[in-house]
Subunit: 571 residues, 2 copies
């Protein structure tokens, strides 16, 4: 008989361990315990199931060949015993046993193991929001007690939300939380014909991006008719006859017949904690390079573990399906006697929002500062292919670096254009500890339908180098807007052409086209800050070189130019 | 007065040097000498101008803001003096002068320099093909002497070809050379309604790819109605009344009223050679890390230089617009007193062919072998996004590695799906000297509309690792076909389902579905080679593990499965 391997968790990492281990170790006795009904489904596809982009639930559970990955499949094809609707209750590390309960029959089962794998996943971080049923105001409820209030944690949730929409029981949705999942759900619900309001407690949506990028996404989303409220805290949900009716915040009240709570995930490490395994500062299960927990007979993988951020080496929590699958593979190899390592990851993420793609990798400014880096950045709007090629679309690339070392810390790319290529290159560069200067001559391939002759990633690297080398001093549109609002005395100088200026301009800006700047230097004060910009701030940069060469000292260039200006323009 | 900088060449690297230098050095006197009429145009966009995808010639010469980059623009906006239609004849390195001739007036001009930049570009490698005019059979002609025979070297060529098409003077085109330019032109001409024949002397088209990838592209192109003849050498062109009528090869004759010679480029280093500058083994001008030639006052950039292949460190010739632009930037910085380096490049390339994207970076098998590497590779067909996501399309990823060191040497990606992301990541990985094992856990971002949970690049890396570690022994479809044709006695075992087998199968293959393989081992001979495959050879690999565990010794897996089988299937 082979080794007894028990896997707790049957969604992503768990089935991956089972499948790969079966290939490597034909003798192993493999058991999966899964609390839910469904196995091995593509959780990241749920928003697209709700929107109807993916028609059938089964598609999320089928292999590329159309084989349904249900318990029967695992038993027959993989010789893996699956117990679904079975919750692991306790790990006895001395006896090497897992005690579990069948959630339908209530029966208690005991599974002995030689090796145990924890793939217990994440749990939704439901905020402590109270709910009240106006018909029974005296009863204290929690938000999920009202009907038509959902998280998006599994197939069952998706099924219920889709059903509500199909049955026309929902018309107005409120999404609590403007993060990645909240925005994926926004697209899904808008496509389904619902009116959507997003309520975000933080000052800007999408904390996975920096605020200057988040605000661009918010403006885009608002143009699509989505009501987004930032800096607004949900205080309670109100319902009638058990069903949600509105969401009340510290600043307003929003009618809703569907509420989705998308306030993030936390590692589901309770079982591990109770078993005395080491838990990290992120609440994820601590694992070594081989994904072994503090007990050498117990491995862990997926959304329940803490991993290393490869940029900084610091402990991180990155609940991503891709990492879960990769970790599952590593665990299986090690269970089969191998020595495969998982060094960590970069917190890379990508998602679709209507016609935008939004992606990030490594650190944003805030996260980098928290890690003690002194941050510089570049914000570069550009075409995703040769500007003259039909179909060229805009993308905004942001790079973040450490001022002291010139090390690249992260990247963010958003826009209607092709985003993947840039974020793939950036993630790969970060994987090797890239310095910003490495990007200047990176030989990514070029042809007009796919890129500009000097790729955006190289251009962004060059802009950032200019800033790191002190050749250019930047100021964000947000800071410029604050100055304007405070009524500060500074020159906001547009160096575009008169024609461009006429079409749309920033309120309070002055025009001196780049070409005539050298002859008009005497129009500019030497004792005030001069903030230069153009369409994308390339001419703005050129102008700053001219001013600096002429002895002007307080010369700033507005990051990203008009393309990254997220406030109203005069027309 | 500032330094006198003379730049010979005004297409890509030259204008880039001029523009960037002007920003860095407001005092420099900058002169560009350009043989042609046009300046600073997007040469790589010419095929799209011919097809009409790009309507106006000017679009190729305009800045992203719609400003025409003509001599006037350079003079006014950049204070750069441009002499077009002016050919540099001689460099006098002692006197630091360039002698040039105005091609219109015949006037000889002399340009003194402090620093000289050679950006003389490439010349078309016109093969020594004879031509004959049937009306004047005694006159010896070269192929370009007949009318309607073109290279694609500049705006004038593109203009003439486009004109021929518009005026309906061309109906049948023959393209001599099945390389990148030849295929870009193929799309362009097919879109313009022409019948196209490609004549390639080598055994397969697209020498920038390996043959197993080239043949897939050829089959695709043939399905699009393009006549492609490989291994066929052009012997002569025949014309009537000065105009081309047909192309005669060693194996046939092809009617043609338009012939395009696309047999590659060579560095135009004649001027440098005559000036006694060091020339490399690729005929490109030798430059150091700072892009300085053997004369410290002379720099060189673009298609005329020899650069280092970053994978092997060997001298290479890579005539690419992207590299020319990047090198132009480096030269400008160094002219302005900086110390910017250009380490080399990866021979990365990408192009569009109807609905296919074709890309490569680093070494293919042949090139790697020439460099002395012992090569292993993986060929992995897969979906470009989650297989269940609407719009998912096929791509084939090929990785090449050094067997001894496990170092990644190159990658190729083709297909109708999204190719850029993978090739960007591969090029970046090569830039850092990646090992194949680095790819397994590379944290490229995942969401169903963009990728699979385990990205293709990771999967391809894992397949290659299996081969490098001896867990899997591959055989290419080409070798299998040769075995079949030679009538060798081996088992070609399809492990797909009966349903898949019924739909389409390789002639001579036997079916034992993976699921029933363990029970049917006695049907297989132990003394013969068994070649396993499935749709993509993942199940094929699983089957090979089963056979090897059962003691079978001659077990091979066919690379890429049916998806990479380029020959006819039985249906």
């Amino acid at each position: 008989m082979g080794q007894k391997v028990v896997i707790i968790g049957g969604v992503a990492a768990g089935p991956k361990v089972a499948g790969k281990l079966r290939r490597l170790d034909p003798e192993a006795e493999i058991v999966i315990l899964e609390k839910g009904k469904f196995l091995s489904y593509a959780g990241c596809g749920l928003p697209y199931y709700i929107s109807g982009d993916i028609e059938k639930q089964q598609e999320l559970m089928e292999s590329p060949l159309g084989v349904m990955r249900d318990p029967e499949f695992f038993r027959k094809s993989k010789r893996v015993q699956v117990y679904n609707r079975t919750e692991a209750l306790r790990i006895d590390r001395t006896r090497q046993e897992v005690e579990a309960r069948n959630l339908e029959s209530g029966e208690i089962l005991v599974f002995p193991y030689d090796k145990l794998v924890l793939a217990t996943g994440a749990k939704v971080a439901v905020p402590p929001v109270k709910a009240i049923d106006l018909n029974q105001p005296e009863t204290e409820l929690r938000c999920l007690d009202l009907s038509h209030v959902y998280t998006l944690h599994g197939v069952e949730d998706a099924e219920a939300i889709r059903w509500s929409i199909r049955e026309k029981l929902a018309r107005r949705a409120v999404i609590i939380g403007g993060g990645l999942i909240g925005l994926e759900m926004t697209e899904s619900l808008v496509k389904s014909g619902l009116e959507v309001t997003i309520l975000e407690m933080l000052p800007e949506i999408l904390p996975i991006l920096d605020e200057d990028m988040g605000i661009l996404v918010r403006r885009y989303c608002q143009e699509k008719g989505v009501n987004i409220r930032v800096g607004e805290k949900v205080e309670r949900l109100e319902g009638e006859e058990g069903r949600v009716k509105r969401v009340v915040t510290d600043r307003g009240s929003y009618e809703a017949d569907l509420v989705i709570i998308a306030t993030g995930f936390r590692p589901d490490s309770d079982l591990a904690r109770r078993a005395g395994l080491e838990i990290g500062e992120t609440e994820g299960i601590k694992v070594d390079l081989f994904l072994r927990t503090s007990d050498p007979n117990i491995y862990a993988a997926g959304d329940c573990v803490e991993i290393e951020n490869l940029v900084s080496g610091s402990p991180s929590y990155m609940p991503m399906g891709s990492l879960a699958n990769k970790q599952g593979r590593v665990v299986a190899i090690n269970l089969a006697g191998g020595t495969e390592t998982f060094r960590g990851a970069l917190n890379s993420a990508i998602f679709k929002l209507f016609d935008y793609t939004i992606a990030r990798t490594g650190f944003g400014i805030r996260q980098a500062q928290t890690q003690g880096y002194e941050v510089e950045y570049a914000l570069v709007p550009a075409s995703d292919r040769a500007h003259y090629f039909p179909g060229a679309k805009r993308v905004v690339t942001k790079l973040v670096a450490d001022k002291r070392s010139g090390k690249l810390l992260g990247g963010q790319v958003i826009g209607p254009g092709e985003v993947s290529k840039t974020i793939y290159a950036l993630a790969t560069a970060l994987n090797y500890g890239a310095r910003v200067e490495d990007l200047s001559n990176l030989d990514v391939p070029y042809a007009p339908p796919y890129a500009s002759a000097i790729d955006n990633i190289c251009v962004a690297g060059n802009v950032l180098r200019n800033k790191l080398e002190g050749k250019m001093v930047g100021i964000s549109p947000q800071e410029v807007e604050k100055k304007r609002k405070r009524g500060e005395d500074f020159v906001l100088l547009d160096v575009r052409t008169p024609k461009e200026y006429q079409t749309a301009r920033i309120p309070g800006s002055t025009l001196i086209p780049l070409g005539s700047l050298p002859q008009n230097l005497d129009q500019l004060p030497r004792d005030k800050e001069i903030v230069l910009f153009c369409a994308v701030s390339l001419r703005g940069y050129e102008a700053s070189l001219i001013l600096r060469a002429a002895g002007f000292e307080q010369v700033l260039v507005m990051d990203g130019g008009i393309a990254c200006w997220p406030y109203d323009l005069e027309k």
